[in-house]
Symmetry: C2
Subunit: 632 residues, 2 copies
């Protein structure tokens, strides 16, 4: 009976009725503007309604079939983009909603931006039109088997030969093999390859080169090029749609004008020249790439939170009295104290991502006017925020998965409906100024404490024991190694301060729609007070707050959870994710989870036959005690 009623109404109808804010306005805040919301919504529907983009059968495919399916989708997306004459913004959104990592991500997201950022005007004119039409497909070949994020450690060489006016691209060791670049394994015809520039026996460090990898006639690798796929990736099945590749060069020749020469040049005579274009320009590209990473992180976290929140409202466990339904998992305080901070983080990261986008535009405009003053700050901010948001997102997705598993929370009892009973305690903890002050004080004091430790090191009295070593080794190197955990903590504190302050800034804007601003204020407080709770040790030990204040903040946090509770489902609805995009039975919009799980299960190939393949060879002999005679 209950089941039937729920199916008709949708499992979340009651949840949505309880929401205390205007959902449509929240969707616009989430998207950034009404215009972006409308484009995004249109692209999402376009993808979700097209049978070619179907992805619910993806886990059933072998690696080869999955890869072929990816190729098919990429080609179909390109076809639609051309037919519908989509703008670049629209095309990017469409591709992101296809939601299957593909060579096109690297072509549009790395290959083209690298040429734009590091190429000369002549190089733009030669390469970009072909790349925009996808007459060539490119990837970004930086990392090597033995070298990850340390670009200066790369081993691939590009040696200039003045005799022929060419570079000789070569992989001198096993560890110099290019390794991991997406789209490289089976698809790309070209790559931007990062290699050490050698002229006249001198090493000028790492530069980018455009190298053709495969014939445009038959797609076979060109002479001297060894290229292939690196094989199955661990964990997530979806990423196996990408042909992450390996690449080796055996003295491959390219014309001199395929070195990306915006910042440095090699002349016809083989002279290495630094142009007057400042090297910092390269950081502009990095700021761009990082802000897209922050924005991807917020989207991924939002997706996981959406699934976990919806499922937590469907799932019931324990707490049944007199035959009434069991308690919704989302009503447990333990579940709330894990889920709601992540919900708040998804919003917080969205807003800080929006600010970074603005920062990138601002930096770019300044660079064009030769103003480099804000670049170092933007460089540092994006680096820190990229690292923090991706690591919180990775952990947050794991946490969301656990929150769906039902094993993650303590098995004790609860109430069908909860309400706040705490007497008002320190309401001060809800004031943005108080929160901001605490986070600022903590970041500053941690920096000071760290500087003091640096000071101790340079004190000759304390430092006696290692002074002899200093003759051999850089003192700075030593300091970094010893202090790196502290620096990491200081950097984290600083990043959290940025996120909190950007959230607060957002709230100072004019935000229309009933209750929308109020919900965002609550989420902002949840985000900040949860961090205060989690890093209480930092706050207390630097004397920013007293233990008593910490306890009051914690009480306040519990109250806030009760306020988030009735709005939780609507807050994730505001992400406007289609069921297709979510690709999750647990997080489906209508909440009809169990029926779908049950129907899906029968589709597994293992269910095609009633008696499994292998029964006669491996099960029957056991049961019949014929195991010794059977051939295994």
């Amino acid at each position: 009976m209950e089941e039937k009623r729920m199916e008709a109404l949708g499992y979340h109808a009651e949840e949505r009725r309880k929401a205390e804010f205007n959902l449509e306005e929240m969707k616009i805040v989430w998207a950034g503007s009404r215009r972006i919301y409308e484009i995004s919504d249109r692209m999402a529907r376009l993808v979700a309604s097209d049978p070619v983009f179907r992805k619910d059968n993806r886990t059933q495919l072998t690696r080869k079939d999955l890869f072929k399916d990816t190729l098919r989708k990429a080609a179909h997306a390109w076809n639609r983009i051309i037919e519908l004459r989509l703008s670049e913004e629209e095309a990017n959104m469409l591709r992101s909603y296809v939601d299957q990592p593909a060579f096109t991500d690297l072509h549009w997201g790395m290959f083209i931006p690298a040429i734009k950022g590091q190429g000369t005007i002549e190089q733009h004119e030669k390469w970009l039109p072909m790349a925009y039409k996808m007459q060539i497909i490119g990837c970004y070949a930086q990392t090597e088997l033995g070298h990850g994020s340390n670009v200066q450690g790369l081993e691939t060489t590009a040696t200039f030969d003045p005799q022929t006016d060419e570079f000789d691209i070569h992989s001198p060791t096993l560890t110099s093999s290019k390794w991991w670049p997406g789209g490289l394994g089976k698809v790309s015809t070209h790559a931007v390859v990062y290699a050490r520039l050698i002229t006249d026996g001198q090493d000028h460090g790492v530069h980018g080169f455009i190298v053709q990898l495969r014939s445009l006639d038959d797609h076979l690798p060109l002479p001297g090029i060894t290229v292939g796929d690196i094989g199955m990736k661990y964990g997530s099945g979806a990423y196996n749609s990408m042909d992450n590749g390996l690449l080796r060069f055996d003295h491959v020749r390219i014309p001199r004008n395929q070195m990306l020469m915006r910042v440095s040049q090699v002349t016809r005579e083989g002279k290495f020249v630094q142009s007057d274009v400042p090297r910092q320009l390269v950081y502009g590209t990095m700021v761009y790439v990082r802000q897209t990473i922050v924005s991807d992180a917020s989207r991924a976290l939002a997706r996981a939170v959406c699934i976990a929140t919806r499922y937590s409202a469907v799932r019931r466990q324990f707490g049944s009295q007199n035959g009434a339904p069991e308690t919704q998992v989302i009503d447990y305080k333990t579940q709330q104290s894990r889920l709601f901070p992540l919900l708040a983080s998804a919003y917080a990261f969205r807003f800080v991502g929006e600010w970074l986008k603005w920062l990138y535009t601002d930096v770019t405009q300044r660079l064009q006017a030769n103003d480099f003053s804000t670049l170092p700050e933007a460089h540092a901010c994006t680096a820190g925020l990229k690292s923090m948001t991706t690591s919180v997102t990775a952990d947050g997705i794991e946490e969301c998965r656990k929150l769906c598993g039902g094993h993650g929370y303590l098995a004790n009892s609860g109430l069908p409906e909860l309400f706040a009973v705490f007497l008002p305690t320190s309401q001060d903890w809800l004031k943005p100024s108080v929160i901001l002050e605490a986070f600022e004080a903590r970041a500053v004091r941690m920096s000071i404490a760290c500087s003091k430790r640096v000071g101790n090191f340079s004190n000759p009295e304390d430092g006696k024991s290692f002074i002899p070593r200093l003759r051999e080794l850089s003192f700075l190197y030593y300091l970094f190694a010893e202090l790196s955990p502290d620096l990491l903590l200081v950097a984290t504190a600083h990043c959290q301060l940025i996120v909190v302050s950007k959230f607060i800034e957002k709230l100072q804007q004019d935000i229309p729609g009933k209750g929308v601003k109020r919900q965002l204020e609550i989420l902002c407080n949840v985000y900040a007070l949860n961090l205060l709770h989690k890093y209480l040790g930092d706050f207390v030990s630097t004397g920013c707050i007293t233990p008593k204040q910490g306890a009051l903040a914690n009480e306040q946090l519990r109250l806030l959870y009760s306020q988030v509770r009735p709005n939780a489902i609507a807050l994730v609805d505001a992400f406007s994710y289609t069921d297709h995009y979510l690709g999750s039975v647990l997080g489906c919009y209508d909440g009809n989870v169990y029926q779908k799980l049950y129907q899906e299960a029968w589709k597994d190939p293992l269910n095609e036959t009633v008696v499994p393949d292998g029964y006669l060879e491996y099960i029957q002999p056991i049961l019949k005690q014929h195991i010794r005679t059977a051939r295994l």
Copy 2:
């Protein structure tokens, strides 16, 4: 040159030479005794050397082929167990080294123990001989689609029919479908099914029943039984070797004597009788199952730590000076501060697991003498430790994966060789008595603080606002719901106290072998001081230690990391894991990581053809601008 030399010597030779303890003795401490070490080592080699147990090609298999491979391995293992007349202990170890989840795990680990623990002597005599010979294969059908760990919420019914002296087993709703049991989907012939016992219209709660599911002739499901596999599992590919199943009953009849009747019985007349065997006996089985889970968790964590530690000694990144090799990742303090606490946790969990095993034996002996005094404590301890160790292990494995990715640590510089320079600070933090006292004080004070909050709730003055609700709802329920996050923290503090104190107890034993005890002392301190660091807020806010003491403990922790460093590789070698068992190129014993990665990559099916399948249909039309006319 360097590459060649390393290949010949093994990459870790230098690391192993640096170790300051007797490896063989440590292996024995790790195993628990020389006898267990020898058996374990023999079984590990037996599996690793047998080509049928090969598992390096596993990720390449389709679900169906992986499943068939699992059946093959299970049959072969059984064959070897019989041929070699292995003891139960040996057989269990052999199966665990096969390291591929299979129906046999459930048959031996759940089906047989359930019958042993909950069946009568007559039931033992009837069912166990068949099960021991694997003439029947059983699984453990407890969880349902809508019901996880809350056994009392199960919906499947077993209604007694006095007319025929049978139970009628039935699935009344969709959510009552059995869901997840391993081995159920395609293999098991029988199951212990948990269902609500109904006699004469009365519900007597959940009991276990032995139900035959499939014909022993043709393996087809018996009438009234719907059974199948639940489909691909998210994430880890390996677990798809298991046929986790779904199961529905349409009024399936079983004889009365197939209810497990050790604790409660139904008479021929349909009368429900509680025997004089105390219900607590059931908890004995739970203590057993939980201690095996703790032991599995310690093994899984050790495995991840082994891989991450070895790879961290191979991987080099940044910090190269004058052309010397880059710094080993394991020499970075940031890497150490993340890796070494996990290494210490692996050892800590191993020892607490050993203690739990002893506890189980002790409880069992007492139960046989009708002494139930220690059961509640054992019940609570194992529940808490199971939950804590599995959650730390899950997070720890994730963390290890990140530590291998090289993205997890701050990109700054370091030294080729590091050494401790800190002046002695608070050496007190290395004294077991000091550590234990801090952990005890914290656990006690957190309990007291929590009790005080309970006290506040029962104060009529404070409680006014919710007193009316109390008429409808249990006050205790309410308290649990409101306090559950606090209770969770108190429980965590208590569990950590147990782990620390068991580690310290272990150290008070006589431990032979040069340096072995010393290393374990260091690890014990790392484990404790890292927790103190992580939960500094708890320790400081309950007044157990001052912020200053916390800072001193932290300094001490850094010193300890330097002491672990030279022994890290040998400490994971002490786990005695074969390369086969580890199944990880990154963690292989000889450290020849890159060569192996490179060789493996070429084995991917995608590399069989140079031009990928799909090129003509999906890539060429793009490149040739024929996209509009191509059929997609």
